[in-house]
Symmetry: C2
Subunit: 461 residues, 2 copies
C-alpha cells in the first residue's frame, strides 16, 4: 500500500467502524479490527470521540499483543480510560505484552489504587518494569527498555549468534553488547559483522569500542541528539558505575524527537503540550493551560494603557500620532519572535551553543538594522506623505530603533533562559512579544513627544 492509498483507506475504515458501532454489529466489527494492523487500529481508536467506543474496539482485539500495541500508540488519557475497563486478567496480559518501558509508563499513569493491586501480581521477571518506574519520565532511564542482548567478554562470535537465536523477546535487536563480569559495558557487535567472521573468533576482537552511551539520568533530548549525530539504531544506557542497564531503540527516539518538537512549538506560542489536540481532551482544561500565557497580553495591555495615558498630552495635541501606535508595536513583536524562534530551535537541535552568544547576537543585530531600515523607511515615507514630515521622521526612526531592540531581546531572552537552565522555549514566545510590543510603544511615544516639544513655539508644547 502506498501512502496515498493508506490515507484514503483510513477514511473508509473509520467510516465503516462508525457505522458498525452505531448498528451494534460487534461480530463484524471484531472480524474487521482483528484483520487490521495494530497501528491502523490505533489510528481509528484515536479518532473515536467516545471512551466507551474506544474501549469496545480495543476490547474486540483477541490478541493481547495487538491490544498492547494499540494501547502504546494512544495518548495517556485514552490509555488509562481503556485499560481500567479491562478485566484484571487482561490487564496483566497486556502489561506483559507491552515492552517494559511502555508498561512502566502505563503503571505510572494509572490511579495508585489500580496500580497497587496489579504490581504484586506481576511475576519476578516483570519486576524490571516496576524498577523502571523509579526513573523520571523524560530521562534516558525513563524511556529505556531493559530488554537487550549482551554477551560476556569471554564469548565467541558463534556464542553471540546462538544467544541471538535463543532470544525471543528482545525488542528490535541490531546490536549485541559485550559486558565484563561486573556488567560494565565494554563494546558493541553489529549483527551484520557477526555473520561475516568465523564463529570461533572472540567477540573482543570483533567488537567496536568505545561505545557511545547515555547515563540513566540524562535528558531524553540529549539521547535524541546523540542518536541523530551518530546515526545510531539503539543507544545503550549505563548507570553511575558504567554498568549496562538498558537500551533506547531508534523508534522510541523518533517519538522523542517528534514530541520535543511539538512541545517546543506549542511552548513558543504560549501553550503547553497538554493542550495538543487529542480530539477528545476537554476544552476547559485546554483553556486553563492557555490562559496563563495570554495574561502576558493582559499585563502588557495594562502597561500599554498606562503609557498611553502618561503620554496623553502628546496624543491630544496631534491625534495623528495615534494612527501609528499599532505598527510601532507589531513590527518589533514579530521581528523579536523570529529571532527567538531561530535561537530556541538552534539550541534544541544543537546548531547553536551558549558559547555562540556573541556571534548570534552580532548577526541578529545586523538583520535588525536592515529590517529597521527597510520597514521603518517604508512606513516613515507613508506617514510623511499622508500626515506630516515630522511624524514620518518620528515613525521611521522609532521603527528602526524598535527593530534593533527587538532582535536583541529576541536573542538574549532565550539564551539567558538556557544559561540559567530554564527551557528556553517555555516563556520566550509570549515574553519576547510582550517586551517588544512595550518597547516599541515607549520608543515611539517618547520620540513623538520630544519632537512635538522641539517643534512647539518657545521650545515646549
Amino acid at each position: 500500500m502506498s501512502v496515498n492509498e493508506l490515507s484514503q483507506r483510513h477514511a473508509l475504515v473509520l467510516d465503516a467502524v462508525h457505522r458498525l458501532l452505531r448498528r451494534g454489529a460487534m461480530r463484524n466489527l471484531g472480524k474487521m479490527v482483528n484483520k487490521m494492523h495494530p497501528a491502523e487500529v490505533a489510528k481509528v481508536v484515536r479518532h473515536l470521540e467516545d471512551r466507551t467506543e474506544k474501549r469496545i474496539v480495543v476490547g474486540l482485539l483477541e490478541d493481547l499483543e495487538a491490544r498492547a500495541e494499540v494501547l502504546s500508540e494512544l495518548d495517556p488519557d485514552s490509555i488509562v480510560a481503556v485499560f481500567t475497563q479491562m478485566s484484571t486478567q487482561a490487564q496483566l496480559g497486556v502489561l506483559r505484552a507491552l515492552s517494559s518501558d511502555d508498561a512502566a509508563d502505563l503503571l505510572g499513569w494509572l490511579p495508585p489504587e489500580v496500580a497497587s493491586t496489579l504490581i504484586p501480581q506481576l511475576t519476578a521477571t516483570d519486576a524490571e518494569m516496576v524498577e523502571l518506574l523509579g526513573y523520571p519520565e523524560e530521562t534516558a532511564g525513563g524511556i529505556m527498555t531493559p530488554e537487550f542482548l549482551a554477551v560476556p567478554s569471554t564469548a565467541t562470535a558463534g556464542d553471540a549468534i546462538a544467544r541471538l537465536q535463543g532470544a525471543a523477546d528482545a525488542e528490535m535487536v541490531f546490536y549485541i553488547y559485550v559486558v565484563d563480569a561486573a556488567g560494565i559495558l565494554e563494546g558493541v557487535l553489529s549483527l551484520r559483522e557477526l555473520l561475516t567472521v568465523p564463529p570461533d573468533r572472540p567477540v573482543t576482537q570483533v567488537m567496536v569500542t568505545p561505545v557511545i552511551r547515555a547515563r540513566v539520568d540524562v535528558d531524553q533530548e540529549e539521547v535524541a541528539r546523540l542518536t541523530a549525530r551518530y546515526n545510531l539504531l539503539a543507544v545503550p544506557v549505563v548507570d553511575e558505575a558504567e554498568r549496562l542497564v538498558g537500551i533506547i531503540t531508534v523508534d522510541d527516539v523518533i517519538d522523542v524527537i517528534r514530541e520535543e518538537a511539538t512541545e517546543d512549538m506549542l511552548k513558543m506560542s504560549g501553550t503547553s503540550v497538554d493542550t495538543e489536540y487529542t480530539l477528545t481532551a476537554g476544552s476547559f482544561k485546554a483553556a486553563r493551560l492557555r490562559i496563563p500565557w495570554l495574561l502576558a497580553n493582559v499585563v502588557g495591555g495594562v502597561i500599554s494603557a498606562l503609557l498611553l495615558m502618561y503620554f496623553s498630552v502628546t496624543l491630544k495635541t496631534v491625534l495623528a500620532v495615534t494612527a501609528f501606535i499599532p505598527v510601532s508595536m507589531a513590527l518589533g513583536g514579530s521581528l523579536g519572535l523570529q529571532s527567538a524562534t531561530i535561537v530556541v530551535r538552534g539550541l534544541a537541535t544543537g546548531r547553536i551553543e551558549l558559547s555562540d552568544v556573541r556571534r548570534v547576537f552580532m548577526r541578529e543585530s545586523r538583520v535588525g538594522a536592515m529590517v529597521g531600515l527597510v520597514c521603518g523607511g517604508l512606513v516613515g515615507l507613508i506617514a510623511m506623505a499622508w500626515q506630516s514630515p515630522w511624524l514620518g521622521l518620528v515613525v521611521g526612526v522609532s521603527l528602526f530603533l524598535a527593530s534593533c531592540v527587538a532582535v536583541t531581546i529576541g536573542t538574549l531572552v532565550p539564551m539567558l533562559f538556557e544559561s540559567i537552565k530554564i527551557d528556553p522555549a517555555v516563556a520566550s514566545g509570549p515574553l519576547v512579544t510582550m517586551l517588544n510590543d512595550l518597547t516599541g510603544l515607549l520608543i515611539y511615544l517618547s520620540l513623538a513627544t520630544w519632537m512635538l516639544w522641539l517643534l512647539a513655539p518657545g521650545g515646549h508644547p
Copy 2:
C-alpha cells in the same frame, strides 16, 4: 563517553583546534582530527567561521570515507565551499564514499560547470547517484538510496544470508527484500528471522507481506509519518510499476523529522528554513528572507492607521479609548497564534486530519469563549475601575468577541491552506496574527463608537 562528558569535551576540542589553526600547527592538527569521530569533526567544522579554516580541517582528514562523512553532516553552503577546493581526484573519491543519496544532493548543489566536469568521470556503478538527481529533493525518490539488498522470490533463507555476507556496501542493512522476476516488491525478510529458520526454507515462506512502502513521488513528510507509525527501520521505495527502486533508512528519516519540525517552527514565525542559524550565513540574505513576512505587519499597520483615523471622532471625544487599543489587538493575535500552532502541528504529525475540522473548530470555539470571558472580564473590570463603567463594558465585550473570532481565524486559516494544498505552516503565523490584530481593533473601535453614540445626548455624539 556520556552525554555531559561529550559536550565538555567538545568545548575543549574546539578550543584546541582554534589554537592549532592560529599557530599553523598543521601536523598536530592533522593527528588530532584523524583520531576523532567524523561526527565530532563535523561539529568542529560547523563552528569554524572561516571557510578556509573549514577547508583546511576537512583536507587534513586522510580517509576519504571520513571526509565524506564529515561533509554529509554540514550545511549545503559549507559543503560546496569545502568540496570545490579539493582536487578532482579527491572530489571523485568523496563522491564515491558518500551514499548515493548524499552524493546526488551534493552534485545538485554544485555550480553546473563543476558538476558537469565530474559526472562524465563517474563510473557506471556511480550512475545510480546521477539517476537520483532526477527526483525532487523533498520526495521519497529524492532521499532514498538505491543500495539495498534484494533476493528473487525463488531464493532460500540460506541464499539470502549468503547474499548478505557478500554485500559490502549496502547502507545499514536490517531488511532483505524479496522481488519477483520483474523486480516487483513482494515481501520483506528480517535479518533476525533469517537466522532462526533452516537454510533450505524458501524465502516466500519466511517473508512478511504486505510490505509498507512509499511511492517515489510522495512527500518526505509522509515517509516520516509512515516510519514513525509503523516503527520501521527502513521504508522501501517503489516506482509507478511497484518495482523496488530504493530504500530510505531510519537515520535519514530522523533527519527529515528534525528538518521538517525546524522548517515548520521557522515558517510559523514568518521566517524560512534558509535563515536557520548556520553560524556563518550572511545577515543580508537572512534579512532579505525575513522582511517579506514582516511586511504583513507594515500592511496591517497601515490598515490600522486608516481605521484609527476613520474613528478619530471617537478618539477625540474620549481620549481614554486610546488606552485600550493595544490590548484589544494583542490578545486576539496571541490567542489566534496558539490555535494556529496547534492546528499546524497537528496536521504535520497526523493527529489532526482535514476531516476533523468541525470537531477542532468546536473545541477551539469553547476555548475562545472561556479565554474571552476570563481575560475580557479582567481587563474590563480594570477599565471600569480606572476610567468609566461604559468603557469597561466596551473593553470587556470586545475582548470577548475578539477572542471568539481569533480562534476561528486561527483554526480555519491553516485548515484552508491544507485543503488547497498550501503548506499550512507557511503563512499561518504572520497572516493569522495580522488578521486578528485588525479584527480586534475593528471590534473595539466600532463598539466604543456605538456606545458613545448611545450615551450622547440626543442619541448621537
